[in-house]
Amino acid sequence: MTPLAFTREGRLVRVVEVRGGRGLTRRLAEVGFTPGSTLRVVSSSRGPVVVELCYSSASRCSSCGSCWRLALSFGLAMKVMVEEVESVERT
C-alpha cells in the first residue's frame, strides 16, 4: 500500500483508504475516491498528481476516453492510500 503521490505514471491502482480528517475523507469520496474505486495515474512527478476515473464503476476501464480527470495537490495525494491492480480488466 502506497500513497497515491508515489505511484508511477500509467499504473492502474485501487483506493484502499483515505487518511484524513472526516471532512477531507468525505470531500475526496465525493469526487470519486471511495475505497475500492479504481483509477489510472496519468501523471505523477512528486508534485500534484493527475488521475483518471472512469464513470461506470461496474467496469472500470482505462482507455475509453470518456473517463474524467482530476488533478490532486501533492498534499492530498499523500493522503490517498492505494494498491496496484495486477489484472487490468479491459472493456
Partner: protein
C-alpha cells in the same frame, strides 16, 4: 401548495440552478434568463451571487445561479452557500444540471438535492460529448428511476432548452420530491428516531425536512449541526449516541459510509441509464494531456501559451489603443473647446471627465484581449492544466496553482485579478493571492516605465523595462511568502482541480465570458477612475488661495500654487533621500489615485507637455534616482480602484493593510536602491 396555483399569474417564483463545476450551468442560466443578471456576493462571503429574471409561459421567475459544487455537505464555502439557500430560501424549483460525460458524480449531487425535498427538474447536458465518446444516456430511464423530469440538452447549441422551460413550468404544480436513498436498516432506524425527536422541537410553520436534517446530523454536517443546535442543543447529544452505536456495528466512520451509500446508488442508476455504443480507440485528451502535463515540457508549453496570450493582448491592441487615444486626447478635446461654453465648464468636461473616461478606455483593448485569450484557454480546457502545471512552482511561493489566473489577469489590470481570486477555495490561499496580485505590474504602469527608460536609459531601454516586470514577479512572490509566514499561517488544504476534456471553444460562450469580465472592469474602474481624474483636475485648478483658473494646467508656475503643487512641496522632504523634487512627489500623489495619470501629470508639472517630458526628466533625474522612481511606481499602491476592490472582496481591514504594506515596501525598496547605488558609486 394551493397558494401557488391561486396566484400563479402575479407571484414570482424562485428558481435555482445547481450543478457540478463546468457542467454548462452558466450557459443554461443565460439561455433561461436571456443574460439578465445582477451580480453580487452572497451575504458575508466572497462567493459570487448571480440573480436574473425569466418569464416562461407568462409565469415570472427569479433565477438564482448557485455556485458550482460537488455535494451539499457544507464542507466548502460554495457548498454551504448552496445548501443554506435550498433550506432557508426554499426555492419553488431547482434545476439540477447533469453532465452526461460524468453521470455518476452528477447523480450524486442530484440525489443530495432530491433528499432536501424540493421540486427538481434535471437537465442532462453535454449529450453531444457523450455521444462523441460512444455513449448514450437514456433520460427516460433516469426519469423513471428518479421520479422527476430529465431533459437532454446541448446547452451551447440551444438544444433542449425549450423542452427544459416546458418541464420547469409543468413541474411547478407537482409536489416536491420525496426521493429517499436507503441507508440500510441500522442507519434508517436512527434517522427515524432522530427525525421524530427533531419534529418535537420544530417551530410552528418552519416546514423543515426532518428526515433530511436527521440524516445530515448523523453525518455531522456542519450546517445541519448549526441548524439543530438552534432548535435544541440536546438533540446533538442524542445524535452523538446514535452515531456512536452505529459506528460500532459498522466498524467505520458513519459519514464515510453514508457518502459511499449515496455514491453506490448514483452508480447503480448511472449504469442502468448508460448504453455504451462504440468505444473510441484513442483519446485525444489523453494524448494532449500527456504533453501539456509532462514534467519537462509542461512548463515551457505553459510559458509559450502565456507569451502568445500577451502578444495577442498587446500587439493586436496597439492600433486600437492609438485610436482610443486619438479620440480622447485630440478629437474630443478640440471638439469640446470649440463648443460655446465658459472656460471653467469646458475644462472640467475636457480635461476632467473626457480625460478620465479616456484613461479607462485606453486600457480596454489590452484588457479585453487578455480576457478573450484567457476565456479561450479556459474553454478549450487548458487553463485547468496550466493551474496544475504551475502548482509545484507556486507551492514554493506558498501559493496554489489556482493563483496563476488572478496573477495573469493582474498584468492587464489588478482589479479583475483581485476579483478572480474568488475561484480559490482555500481562504488563506485566496487572501494571500489577492494581496500579492497588486504587486503585478499592470498595463497602467507601463507608460511610466517607457517614459523614464526612454529618457535616461536609451541604450538599455528594453532591458530596464523588462527588469520592472521581473521585479514585479519577485515582489509578488516575496509578498506571498511574507503573508504566509506572518498572517495566513494555516497549511493550504490542497486542491482538487477537475481537468475537463478538451473541446473546441464555442464563440458564444467565449464572447460572453469576455464581455462579462469587461463589463465588471468598466463598472469598477470606470466609476472610481473617472471620479479620481475629476478630483485631480479640481485639485490642480484650485489651491490654498482659491480658484487659480484653468490656466494652471498649462502653467508650471501657477500649478505650483495649486493643491497638487502644495502637497508636492509637503511631500518633498520625505523623498529627498531618493533625490526626487516636489514635481516628482506631486506626480506620485496623482499616481496614487490612478497610475496612468503619472505621465500626464508630470507633463503638466514640468510645464513641457508629454512631448518634452523626456528632456525634463533627463535633467531632473539621474539614472539611479529614475530607476528608484520606477521601482516606487511599481510597488506603491496600484490605484485607489484596486484598493476599493480589495475592500470589497476582503473588507476594510485588509485594504488598509495593503495600503500600509505597499507604501512601506515601495519606500524601503526605493531608498535601498538609491543607497546601494551610492555605495557602488553609481549616480
Amino acid at each position: 401548495m394551493s397558494a401557488h396555483r391561486g396566484s400563479q399569474a402575479t407571484r414570482r417564483f424562485k428558481l435555482a440552478l445547481v450543478g457540478n463545476p463546468n457542467v454548462g450551468k452558466s450557459v443554461i442560466y443565460n439561455e433561461i434568463t436571456g443574460g439578465d443578471a445582477w451580480v453580487g456576493n452572497w451575504p458575508g462571503t466572497t462567493v459570487e451571487k448571480k440573480v436574473g429574471r425569466a418569464v416562461i409561459g407568462g409565469v415570472e421567475f427569479e433565477v438564482v445561479d448557485l455556485p458550482g459544487i460537488y455535494s451539499l455537505s457544507a464542507y466548502t464555502l460554495d457548498e454551504e452557500v448552496a445548501v443554506r439557500f435550498l433550506v432557508e430560501e426554499k426555492p419553488d424549483l431547482v434545476v439540477v444540471i447533469l453532465n452526461a460525460v460524468n453521470l455518476e458524480r452528477s447523480l450524486y449531487l442530484l440525489l443530495s438535492v432530491l433528499e432536501v425535498g424540493v421540486r427538481v427538474v434535471a437537465a442532462l447536458n453535454m449529450i453531444d460529448l457523450a455521444e462523441g465518446q460512444g455513449y448514450k444516456v437514456r433520460s427516460d430511464v433516469l426519469e423513471e428511476l428518479l421520479g422527476i423530469r430529465v431533459i437532454p440538452t446541448v446547452a451551447v447549441k440551444g438544444v433542449g432548452i425549450e423542452e427544459l422551460r416546458k418541464a420547469i413550468l409543468d413541474t411547478l404544480s407537482e409536489p416536491p420530491s420525496t426521493y429517499k436513498v436507503n441507508y440500510g436498516v441500522d442507519v434508517e432506524r436512527a434517522i427515524e428516531g432522530l427525525a421524530s425527536k427533531i419534529k418535537g422541537y420544530e417551530p410552528a410553520g418552519a416546514k423543515l425536512n426532518v428526515r433530511w436534517l436527521a440524516s445530515r446530523l448523523l453525518e455531522e454536517d456542519k450546517y445541519a449541526v448549526e441548524l439543530v443546535e438552534r432548535l435544541n442543543p440536546e438533540l446533538l447529544k442524542v445524535a452523538e449516541e446514535h452515531r456512536r452505536r452505529i459506528e460500532k456495528t459498522l466498524g467505520r466512520p458513519l459519514d464515510e459510509y453514508v457518502v459511499e451509500r449515496r455514491y453506490e446508488e448514483a452508480s447503480k442508476i448511472a449504469s442502468k441509464a448508460l448504453i455504451k455504443a462504440g468505444v473510441k480507440k484513442l483519446s485525444l485528451t489523453s494524448l494532449i494531456d500527456y504533453a501539456v502535463t509532462h514534467k519537462v515540457f509542461g512548463i515551457p508549453i505553459m510559458l509559450t501559451a502565456v507569451y502568445l496570450m500577451f502578444r495577442l493582448a498587446f500587439d493586436v491592441a496597439t492600433p486600437l489603443c492609438t485610436l482610443v487615444d486619438y479620440a480622447f486626447s485630440s478629437y474630443l478635446p478640440s471638439l469640446i473647446s470649440s463648443l460655446p461654453m465658459p472656460e471653467f465648464a469646458s475644462s472640467l468636461i475636457g480635461d476632467g471627465v473626457v480625460a478620465g473616461v479616456g484613461s479607462v478606455l485606453i486600457f480596454l483593448p489590452n484588457i479585453a484581449l487578455l480576457f478573450l485569450a484567457l476565456a479561450l484557454l479556459e474553454d478549450v480546457g487548458y487553463l485547468a492544466r496550466a493551474a496544475f502545471v504551475v502548482d509545484k512552482v507556486m507551492h514554493k511561493l506558498k501559493l496554489t496553482g489556482k493563483s496563476i489566473i488572478p496573477l495573469l489577469l493582474g498584468f492587464g489590470c489588478n482589479i479583475p485579478g483581485v476579483m478572480a481570486t474568488r475561484a480559490i477555495e482555500d481562504e488563506q490561499d485566496r487572501k494571500t493571492t489577492a494581496l500579492a496580485t497588486p504587486m503585478i505590474s499592470c498595463a497602467a504602469r507601463l507608460p511610466v516605465y517607457l517614459v523614464f527608460a526612454g529618457a535616461l536609459f536609451t541604450a538599455y531601454r528594453g532591458s530596464v523595462v523588462f527588469s520592472m516586470y521581473l521585479w514585479s514577479v519577485i515582489f509578488a512572490a516575496l509578498t506571498a511568502i511574507i503573508l504566509r509566514k506572518a498572517l495566513f499561517k494555516g497549511v493550504s488544504t490542497g486542491f482538487i482541480i477537475e481537468l475537463p476534456p478538451y473541446m473546441a471553444p464555442q464563440a458564444k460562450s467565449v464572447c460572453f465570458k469576455t464581455w462579462l469580465r469587461c463589463k465588471r472592469f468598466l463598472l469598477k474602474a470606470g466609476t472610481v477612475i473617472v471620479a479620481v481624474v475629476v478630483v485631480v483636475w479640481l485639485l490642480s485648478v484650485t489651491g490654498p488661495s482659491g480658484y487659480l483658473g484653468v490656466g494652471a494646467l498649462e502653467d508650471p508656475e501657477l500649478i505650483e500654487q495649486s493643491w497638487i503643487g502644495v502637497v508636492g512641496h509637503w511631500l518633498e522632504p520625505i523623498f529627498t533621500p531618493m533625490g526626487w523634487d516636489w514635481r516628482a512627489s506631486s506626480a506620485l500623489l496623482v499616481g496614487f489615485l490612478a497610475k496612468e495619470a503619472v505621465v500626464g501629470a508630470m507633463g503638466v508639472l514640468y510645464g513641457v507637455g508629454e512631448e518634452g517630458l523626456s528632456g525634463a526628466i533627463a535633467s531632473s533625474f539621474t539614472p539611479l534616482t529614475a530607476y528608484a522612481y520606477m521601482l516606487f511606481v511599481l510597488l506603491y499602491v496600484p490605484c485607489v480602484a484596486t484598493l476599493a476592490t480589495i475592500r470589497g472582496e476582503m473588507g476594510f481591514k485588509y485594504a488598509l493593510l495593503a495600503l500600509a504594506y505597499e507604501l512601506a515596501l515601495a519606500y524601503s525598496v526605493a531608498a535601498l536602491c538609491v543607497g546601494v547605488g551610492h555605495l557602488l558609486g553609481v549616480a
